[in-house]
């Protein structure tokens, strides 16, 4: 376009600038590629290639020690009829609903309190502390603290006259317990993400509301929530996907039991692949999970109108 206009309106100042820009971008290309190379290498080696190979293996019968054998869509047919797969999916869903539901509300409350009530960096730091402890350590510490016979939590319950609860051992309480343990670990971090979003809301809006005499409650629902929505959606997309990946807490505590009550989908995949060496089937489970997660993420972005901001 600019080339076509150029002969008629030769601008002495524009043309060298354009040339300079073009020249610079060509100059930048090589270093840019060099900077991208390590990340690209990592992505291709550790994500793209394994993902493609997983896709291929999902059509094979593969037990590691013999070469993969092509079986077509047999694994997928088996997945659909696999009672334990559906069970693991509902267990995972139960975990995600409890985990994300509680975590989002708690994190939002903490973020708003940090935003409206205190500017103390010490409190912000303290809130983040659980997140700095490794998942496995958090899981094992809670596992011990919540033991039915020797755990400190149950000693407390008994002091106030309640019966001990086998939090991790009961089929009905195991998943909620795991979900809440992870809420405890992640709430500070999630609150910080939301807090960052809150800071992008101009203070003039709040000042106007204050002049109009709006209550804090009304300010939250009429100003904070609408203006926070895009950030909240991004946080939700990321935390929901992360939540679906629940594995480590289960692996070091309940190991899928009692019965099938905590056999979440990633633990089931792990069992199939690394304990039963049924890699073809495990790969098919991975692909199915990938499709589900992609669908969940796209639905979230669509339904919650992530791209639109109410700040105009």
């Amino acid at each position: 376009m600019s080339v076509a206009v150029a002969p008629q309106q030769p601008s002495a100042t524009e043309r060298p600038a354009a040339r300079l820009r073009a020249g610079r971008s060509r100059q930048d290309l090589v270093p840019a590629l060099l900077f991208l190379l390590p990340a690209a290498f990592g992505f291709v080696t550790f994500y793209a290639w394994p993902a493609l190979r997983t896709f291929y293996l999902s059509f094979t019968d593969y037990s590691l020690l013999a070469p993969p054998e092509w079986v077509g869509v047999q694994n997928y047919a088996e997945v659909l009829g696999d009672r334990r797969f559906w069970k693991s999916l509902t267990v995972t869903l139960e975990y995600v609903v409890i985990n994300i539901g509680v975590q989002t509300v708690v994190a939002l409350a903490l973020a708003v309190l940090m935003h409206r009530l205190t500017k103390s960096t010490l409190i912000r730091g303290v809130l983040l502390l659980p997140y700095l402890v490794a998942n496995v350590v958090v899981a094992l510490v809670w596992y011990t603290m919540l033991d039915a016979q020797l755990g400190i939590v149950n000693s407390g319950l008994e002091l106030v006259g309640l019966d001990p609860v086998a939090f991790f051992g009961e089929t009905s309480t195991a998943i909620p317990t795991i979900a809440l343990v992870n809420v405890w670990r992640h709430m500070g971090y999630t609150a910080l993400l939301i807090f960052a979003g809150l800071q992008s809301i101009p203070s003039s809006v709040y000042e106007a509301a204050a002049i109009d005499g709006a209550s804090e409650w009304r300010i939250f629902w009429r100003i904070t929530m609408p203006l926070l929505r895009p950030v909240l959606v991004l946080v939700l997309v990321l935390t929901v996907i992360g939540s679906f990946q629940i594995f480590d807490t289960v692996a070091v505590t309940t190991k899928g039991g009692p019965i099938d009550s905590t056999r979440v989908i990633y633990y089931y995949i792990y069992e199939k692949a690394f304990q039963q060496f049924d890699f073809g089937y495990a790969a098919a489970l991975c692909v199915v999970l990938f499709v589900i997660l992609a669908g969940v993420a796209l639905a979230q972005v669509k339904i919650l109108r992530a791209g639109d901001s109410d700040l105009d």
Binding site: A66, F168, G257, I259, L298, A306
Partner: protein, 448 residues
């Protein structure tokens, strides 16, 4: 904004979603003259390091590099190592895993070498050497050490109950009323008011000390330290033949009666329920905290049970069952040679050294496991005794010929995946012991 977000979401999704599906394992290549040796029990590393030092002195130019990984990582690392072609030259193998490795030609048979070296397998306790001969009739290992099951007991809790320790050797058990074994368990159970399980007014909802502990591990279809010693003492067997059976017998009335009795202990308040046992602390730690008077476990747990401060511990043999005999699983490990090793000859020499009386006596001195070689076992018994541990309860079933082999079959991991939840369901009270007939059908379908 909309596009970028969507793109960001998609980009964020891809690696996250495939994250758990890829796996890599890389180890540096082996230097010439160096043999890598893997084992999973960290307690045994010093003893085997001593064996390696002696071996290196006898074989100049050969170096042994010992590496240890915990049980949970061990088999993943071995398997990925076999696939990547860089598995350790020699590694400790288990009866659950070696059949697959042998069938896929990943480990080397050692029949010729054993014959050439003039090693007699008759010296081992009966059956222990046979399990390392695979379905193809070839030998894949020499038994190194073994384990059996016993009953750990808290001496103070027994004294409080007025139970004479010496009577524990004469316990009998049956699936109908549990015999004198259940009488003992009931008597050792104490509720919050100090009422014992065999006394009127016992409150099973407020138990302070359980007579018998329940393992935090899911015993799946083997129940090695959990229920196998009862079931096997009825005359029941896991499979039609062992090793290499192809038909499991979880539908047998004797087996199901045993499991029903076992679950009955929970209902009576003599044993913690499944939820409590799985809620966080291991059975041995709860025993160490004085919550259980008795706890059945394997000889490999001696170190843990005897390691609690202020707890005076003894070991009794498992009870005599309806068959008129005791029963315990008799399990062992052996060293296997990786088929892809650069130095087959050196690897065999090392395996031969590991199985030798010299090395096994060094292992015995550490008093961690029971060596298979009788002369080394004697050393171990003395060393255990020096530590204040009388291990005769573990060796008595061997002298009585009351040992049973670990069920060695194909499909072990798949069987565990079926039987684990099925046994859980029975112990949790969500299914009857008769539901195991259906699980048995699923298990046997694997062999068709």
């Amino acid at each position: 904004m909309k596009k970028t977000l969507r793109l960001a979401a998609a980009a964020a999704l891809l690696p996250l979603a495939v994250g758990a599906c890829g796996s890599g394992d890389a180890r540096s290549g082996q230097a010439d003259g160096e043999l890598t040796y893997w084992l999973w029990d960290s307690n045994q590393v010093p003893a085997y390091q001593a064996c390696a030092t002696a071996f290196e002195a006898e074989n100049p130019g050969t170096k042994i590099k010992i590496e240890q990984f915990g049980w949970a990582d061990y088999w993943n690392k071995i398997t990925t190592g076999l696939v990547a072609g860089n598995a350790p030259d020699v590694f400790v193998n288990h009866l659950n895993y070696y059949p697959t490795f042998a069938a896929k030609n990943q480990i080397l048979p050692i029949d010729e070498q054993v014959e050439e070296a003039g090693i007699s397998t008759d010296v081992y306790p009966e059956g222990l050497a046979d399990v390392w001969v695979s379905q193809d009739g070839k030998r894949y290992g020499l038994p190194k050490d073994f384990d059996t099951i016993g009953i750990f007991y808290n001496k103070d809790l027994l004294a409080e109950a007025g139970v004479d320790e010496s009577t524990l050797a004469d316990l009998t058990w049956n699936p109908e009323d549990g015999g004198t074994y259940e009488d003992l368990i009931a008597h050792l159970t104490v509720d919050a008011n100090g009422v014992r399980g065999d006394e009127p007014g016992f409150d099973k909802s407020k138990v302070e000390v359980y007579g018998l502990g329940l393992d935090e591990n899911n015993g799946a279809g083997v129940g090695q330290q959990i229920w196998s010693m009862y079931a096997l003492s009825t005359g029941w067997q896991f499979t039609d033949e062992n090793p290499w059976g192809s038909e499991f017998q979880y539908d047998d009335p004797r087996f199901q009666a045993t499991i029903a009795w076992f679950k009955g202990l929970i209902d009576k308040g003599y044993m913690p329920d499944l939820a409590t046992s799985r809620a966080g602390v291991s059975v041995n730690d709860a025993f160490g905290a004085g919550k259980y008077a008795l706890s059945t476990n394997g000889s490999w747990m001696i170190g843990s049970y005897f390691g609690y401060d202020g707890v005076d511990v003894g070991v009794a043999p498992v009870p005599v069952g309806p068959s008129g005999e005791r029963a315990t699983i008799f399990n062992g490990v052996a060293d296997s040679i990786y088929a892809g090793t650069d130095d087959k000859e050196g690897a065999w020499k090392w395996v031969e050294h590991l199985a030798s009386a010299d090395c096994q006596k060094k292992v015995a001195e550490a008093a961690v496991v029971f060596p298979s070689l009788p002369e080394a076992l004697e050393v171990a018994e003395e060393e255990f005794a020096a530590k204040g541990v009388d291990v005769s309860a573990f060796t008595l079933p061997i002298e009585e010929g009351a040992t049973h082999l670990y069920p060695i079959t194909d499909h072990a991991p798949e069987i565990a995946a079926i039987m684990g939840p099925a046994m859980d369901a029975v112990l949790a009270g969500e299914a009857d012991a008769s539901s195991l007939t259906e699980a048995n059908e699923q298990v046997n379908a694997l062999f068709q």
